[in-house]
Subunit: 510 residues, 2 copies
Amino acid sequence: MAMNDATPPAPPGTLRLRRMGIDTYQEPVLYMHSGCHVCHSEGFEAQSRVEVGLGGRTIVATLNVVSGDFLSPDEAGLSEAAWRLLGASGGDVASLRHPPPLESLGHVRAKVYGRRLTQAAADAVITDIAAGRYSDLQLACFVTACAGDLLDLEETVAITRAMVRAGERMHWSEGPVMDKHCVGGIPGNRTTMLVVPIATACGLRMPKTSSRAITSPAGTADTMETLAPVDLDVPHIQRVVERTGGCIVWGGAVRLSPADDVLIRVERPLDLDSQGQLVASILSKKAAAGATHVLIDMPVGPTAKVRGVHAASVLARALRDVGQAMGLHVRVAQTDGLAPVGRGIGPALEARDVLAVLRGDPGGPADLAQRAAMLAGELLEMGNAAAAGTGASVAEAVLKDGRAWRKFQEICEAQGGMREPPVAPCRQEIVAPRSGTVIGMDNRRLARVAKLAGAPKTPCAGIDLHVRTGEFVERGQPLYTLHAGSPGALAYAADYAHAQHDAVHVIEDD
Amino acid sequence: MAMNDATPPAPPGTLRLRRMGIDTYQEPVLYMHSGCHVCHSEGFEAQSRVEVGLGGRTIVATLNVVSGDFLSPDEAGLSEAAWRLLGASGGDVASLRHPPPLESLGHVRAKVYGRRLTQAAADAVITDIAAGRYSDLQLACFVTACAGDLLDLEETVAITRAMVRAGERMHWSEGPVMDKHCVGGIPGNRTTMLVVPIATACGLRMPKTSSRAITSPAGTADTMETLAPVDLDVPHIQRVVERTGGCIVWGGAVRLSPADDVLIRVERPLDLDSQGQLVASILSKKAAAGATHVLIDMPVGPTAKVRGVHAASVLARALRDVGQAMGLHVRVAQTDGLAPVGRGIGPALEARDVLAVLRGDPGGPADLAQRAAMLAGELLEMGNAAAAGTGASVAEAVLKDGRAWRKFQEICEAQGGMREPPVAPCRQEIVAPRSGTVIGMDNRRLARVAKLAGAPKTPCAGIDLHVRTGEFVERGQPLYTLHAGSPGALAYAADYAHAQHDAVHVIEDD
């Protein structure tokens, strides 16, 4: 090192941090050079778990040992997830050491060997998971040990409670606090942004925290963000709810049930059907948000998350039973999960659908309006804001007479100010390759096209559907319009759309 | 790109490969830039599984998306494991696409949900695992689903058979083929290099394939390599065995039961006690090597792999039963697993112990000689080369009269020529901090010190023990000598040895 070098050497046991810009899909990874003195003196090896400390914060990361020349021996590289979790900045110097032994893994092993998870065991495991102390392999082991029907009711309640305890909680004054959740699996279906203004316009309280997209082209938080700020802290959320009765904000900003966010990243690639984990995931978020009444929208269909009526009724019962043990009133609404709901797929296009329904535009998507009114009606009945059997018609009236629209604008203003959703500069129509009846659409491929076009990162990007299942189309008639933020993204999406043409829309000759 | 650039652009769907020099502990990882056209047009995302094709070979790797500037958008970076598996060279251009769906994962899910693994299911799963098609998360899921006592005898046999079928096999002419295996957990204990020459000197056939160290300071292959080449192909192994009756070679060069090598890398960090997997791992290697008679050395002790007598007898029965189903004669010898066997820890130091025993040096480690004679005696009796009850004394005689030593030299010459083990240039004595009786040694910390000194990568590095458990030591008396290849490595090991002084050797005042 030259005498006039501006950066003094880091103290023993520490290294200067470097942001590697490597997206490892949430797993915190640490990169150290094979010639690094800390690596040697601590005896770290590839795949060692290493505790990285910066200021008062520590994370545990998995080590990858680098012999290439893009990392120097006096640097510690961090993956994007590790950089974010540690809250690091350029030039920071961090300490590196062996993490304390992970005692709670003993409970996971005991569960693998067939013993039941006690509340104490669940608390220990979930606390460590929420703190990021489990490697992805250890998370996969825990998820597998809890999959299928391997968790009974008591164990599911124990995990749900532990997940609530391991994060932040929101507290509300006496009285019902309404919430809703969609089990998921179909694009569009952006009912939350309609249900919240309807319910709050009828006097119910509904502080709604939503997620951003993980693998879908848009989450409710992404869609709402095209109309108003969603990244609110707890005091701000409470002010909004006091003033308007409700909110639609991003839950990630308030750390409700953080263990759930960690578990989701390994559950998804394993694609294990784990009822206990699903119930714990849904209800822990709701309990942490301070809800008292929870309505679950459960779309049922072959390409939805819940594929048949038997699975739906088993899951519904588990949600109600665990909800009861947690002190929550849970109602489950089974809905049609065969096709997308609404026309837009992607944040701004879905927001446009929501606005059209709220404003009562004649061309607005009727299916979205109807689905939202049905769900809002259930909530109104649960919260005693409508008599049994009258909820849906009350909700429809609130939509039609503009009360929901006024309430929605009020909520947006309270969250920081309403804005216009962006509009895509690049568009291309995808047309029917032949005449016939559209007998089906592939929800997954539609989602893929929307993501290739740039959704949700580019909020204006996505798909605008022009035909529905059952409609007759002429050869050359537009099936949907691609929206993109750049000509390149438009070309990627169009290439895929053309290559997968017959699979996205299935057209049968008449 | 400049007009006179020597490298033409890669064809569509392909990228130029780059060796990143990142050790991900065996997991094949692919690094693509977030601005990469293939990444966009194929719709790959962080954690996507991607099939990388080069010539006739394909591997499946996990994608990490890079936004840093150390990778260019027209390159595909490979981790060390991916580079090696693909057999890539600098400048190679590879194709990148979505891998076919992993159908066998359905069998893993079925096992998680409580159904039994059939032979067909085991074959499908193990074939995909051996081909590297499972991600580490999916491997952890399979390992967890098979852990504890979740595999019954038939399922264990099915997995063992599948593991043999998924790799290469060695074939031998009619007659007994002897083998031995140590379940492991204690340093030193380098008996194989004594048992093979004793057994073959008595007329038995013993083509021994051994492993290199994974987490220990030395494997038998590492130790043998300090005396003779071990990296032989199958025809060479067969010539050596025809000429001498035996061999001691590295099994990794001949791809016996490759699924086992893949599974081991996730079993280790999970530390799940999985009897079925352990039995399948041991016996699949032996069956693939063409063995007919297998002796298992099972050290039992609180810091060994098998911790108590009950666990030992359950495991022994499973080994015998599965062995029988595979057509193998299996005998299990329970041995003392309380302490290291021999004095050296590290390849060259363990080789020195072996040579001392073979040459009958008066100062050679008696415990190693005795353990080897006992195990060889069992093998002689199994192979009818000694009458029942006389095996150990026959083996001792063969050691004492030099026949084993001559046979060992013959084997080394046939494997490519005998050589002298290297000697460490840097040494340091670690002395007793006080007087008293050594009442115990920590095998794991001893192994750690030896590895910090450089073992097994630096073959001359390791530990030379001077005192045994039960001996009285004076303050300042040498407990052991560190051997290292460089002053830096010596300093690392000595620092740790001093910091952990009381834990490595436990000395009690008299």
